[in-house]
């Protein structure tokens, strides 16, 4: 009997456990298994195998029964995901979590956007990949908020390069201090009006530039991409259905198959992590408790190191739920700050306009990318009445004039012969929000989800700094659009609830001081050194860049450190 137990434990024992298979979990899986660690990857959702499980990827518009619209009954059953602009459609809804599947408590309105499947939200992301600079890493220390980041750009630069080369990032070397250049494949093209606006900015401003966004699309495959079985992006722009070509980076197309090829990875879907097991005697984590999503049975798995990549808020949930006599408030939570200082990006404001020039030109084909407006507010010193600043997306394109007047033959004629409309231009802000202790998540004392795990309370909201930033964005872009000769300028502030912005961060922030932070400079818990958090939860501040590239680089860096510490027998 004793032997049987030992065997059973052995069977459940790995070198490393990775919780989550999205952007950062996929990278943890790849790096750890590539370095020879037997790695168990736990994913709470179903498996999504590259190509095979993209049911809508090759469907034409007319093949969708309701041309994409989600039937009323499903919309009524899912009022929350019903608000996910663009994702709740017949083409993609199978990659978005249904409301009933994982309830949570909104102490304040929060449109939590989640992807529970192998690959997580890496199937759905916007694929923008901009590096951070020291202007971001030094932000909290310079401006006196949050805590100082324990790392700087020089710590990250080689890891940015490492992940960029593998993922395949297209872009130009723009030489901007606030947006360091990387390992780029050829950039996608700007169009006439984007180039025109770029020129207008150069003419009117010294501190403002428009560049082509750096994005995770393979514009010219290198051998490393062919090795992954991925091919050149063919501009289908149907990305969020899953790309059968692997034209953009996702865990499914890239890191997970790569990890599988090493023979060291075990991928286990339908595995909902309940908590991390803390071994009081050894003073470190020994494994995780997992609930089988189908049978609801709990089992335990053991490993020497654990990477928590469950997506920012779920990583907080797991750690808060990992209680022991050493850590009654949640794993690593000696200072009571776990779950606090949640921040995200502010996507509330938009601006649209028209341009009457370039009437004799247009675009041909489709672009998976857009142009990018790096932060220009408070970059080198504080200049405004709000902290930090915003980046912005920008895109231009010609619409069609479709005359829908009347009925009969004349209507048919106009529908079948649309004329080219004016150039439409639009921009959307991506603002930095300031992490505050009063924006937090916590566990419900009694209510549980279908897996018996406490419900997560989410209590976050906008603040005055965000409102000021929205106003400044609208004013500054109205001015720039006016100077460029754009007309019919309209600004808006959606005032939507946080969560729809998706980029939630923090709660398990990095820092140098264990009294004010949870993670050290290697993303390990100060108080439990063999547990690493490298998803959005680790972020000390948010900056303005789309965060995924930074999660990838942090993960690869932490995995490298973890393995070298294991070799030195320090973990």
């Amino acid at each position: 009997m004793a032997n049987f137990t030992i065997d059973a434990v052995k069977k459940m024992t790995y070198d490393a456990i990775v919780i989550g298979s999205g952007i950062s979990g996929g990278w943890a899986a790849k790096e750890l298994s590539e370095k020879g660690l037997k790695t168990l990857v736990l994913e709470r959702g179903r498996n999504v195998e590259h190509i095979k499980d993209y049911p809508t990827a090759n469907m034409h518009p007319w093949e969708f029964e309701h041309r994409g619209q989600v039937p009323l009954e499903l919309r009524k059953q899912n009022p929350l995901i019903g608000q996910k602009r663009g994702l709740f459609s017949e083409a993609t809804m199978h990659f978005v979590v249904k409301d009933a599947e994982h309830p949570y408590v909104q102490d304040k309105p929060f449109d939590w956007t989640r992807g529970y499947q192998v690959g997580g939200k890496s199937l759905l992301w916007a694929r923008q990949t901009q590096r951070w600079s020291d202007l971001d890493f030094e932000g909290p220390a310079r401006d006196g908020f949050a805590v100082d980041w324990p790392i700087r750009y020089k710590d990250m630069a080689p890891w940015y390069s490492h992940v960029e080369k593998f993922a395949g990032i297209s872009g130009n070397k723009d030489g901007l201090p606030q947006l360091p250049d990387g390992e780029f494949l050829p950039a996608t093209e700007l169009n006439c009006v984007e180039t025109y606006f770029q020129g207008q900015l150069a003419k009117h401003y010294k501190d403002r530039q428009l560049i082509q966004g750096r994005c995770a699309h393979i514009t010219k495959p290198e051998p490393i991409h062919f090795e992954q079985g991925r091919a050149k992006c063919m501009h289908r722009t149907l990305c969020s259905r899953g790309c059968p070509l692997g034209g953009y980076f996702s865990s499914n197309a890239s890191t997970l198959p790569w990890a599988a090829k090493t023979g060291n990875m075990t991928l286990q879907p339908h595995a909902v992590v309940h908590s991390i097991i803390y071994d009081e005697k050894k003073g470190k984590a020994s494994g995780v408790r997992v609930i089988d999503a189908n049978t609801k049975q709990m089992s335990e798995y053991y490993a020497r190191i654990i990477f928590v990549n469950a997506s920012a808020l779920n990583t907080n949930l797991i750690l808060l739920n990992s209680t022991s006599s050493r850590f009654p408030q949640g794993l690593g939570n000696d200072n009571g700050l776990l779950g606090k200082h949640i921040a995200w990006h502010n996507y509330r404001a938009r601006i649209t306009a028209q341009y009457d020039g370039y009437q004799d030109t247009t675009t041909d084909g489709r672009t998976p990318n857009h142009s990018y407006f790096p932060r220009f507010r408070n970059v080198h010193k504080q200049e405004t009445d709000f902290l930090r600043g915003y980046a912005a997306g920008f895109s231009a394109g010609r619409g069609t004039n479709q005359n829908r007047e009347g009925i009969g033959v004349s209507l048919k004629e106009s529908l079948l012969n649309p004329t080219l409309g004016p150039w439409n231009v639009s921009s959307w802000m991506m603002g930095e929000t300031i992490p505050k202790e009063t924006n937090f998540v916590s566990l419900d004392a009694s209510q549980k989800d279908p897996y018996g795990i406490p419900l997560l309370h989410i209590s976050v909201d906008w603040e005055e700094n965000d409102d000021k930033m929205v106003k400044d964005y609208q004013e500054q872009f109205t001015e720039m659009f006016t100077k460029a000769g754009f007309t019919n300028i309209k600004t808006s502030d959606s005032k939507h609830a946080p969560g729809a912005d998706i980029h939630e961060m923090g709660g398990v922030r990095m820092g140098t001081d264990p009294r004010t932070s949870l993670l050290d400079k290697w993303n390990a818990l100060h108080a439990c050194k063999n547990v690493f958090v490298t998803d959005g939860a680790c972020m000390t501040s948010t900056s303005t860049q789309n965060p995924s590239l930074t999660y990838m680089a942090l993960t690869a860096r932490a995995a490298d450190y973890a393995v070298s510490e294991l070799k030195k027998k320090n973990l």
Partner: protein
Amino acid sequence: MKRRIALQHMATVVGGLVTLPAWANGWSSQSLTTNSYLSAKQDALLASVVETIIPETDIPGARSLNVHTFVQKMVNDCYEEEVQQNMIKGLQVTEELARKKYSQPFNSCSADQRMEVLTQMENSADQPVADFFKLTKDLTIQGYMSSEYVLTKHMKYTMVPGHYYGCVPVVTK
């Protein structure tokens, strides 16, 4: 606050059930397919209405591209019960108007007569009648323009462009 209460309520309900996150169940569009809710007669009348909105010429019209089936499916699956009922009522009004004005069924009227009936409905002071016309017209245009025939033969639809050129001269037909 309302949403919070709704969610808490839902959580309590769900907590007691064994719900499996079975992806394949409940999400595929096939499983949502419902039978037509209009009678054969009403369906034929709807076909005639969509054909009046986008008629056959040397290019197929809405009826031969089965747009009426699409319109009915959309109303049945994506709209509230009252909108579904208003479609039935609108079809009745269409038929009554044709008989009153031209002493014959809508289906037997000439194209001009059918257009006259629908135009009168478009401008009707009776809001449900005007609503019926607007929804039917919008869905007819949507179904027609997103049909395989129109997209591939007239709209240069391609799933895989393979390129993006940012600045090319406008080619006039």
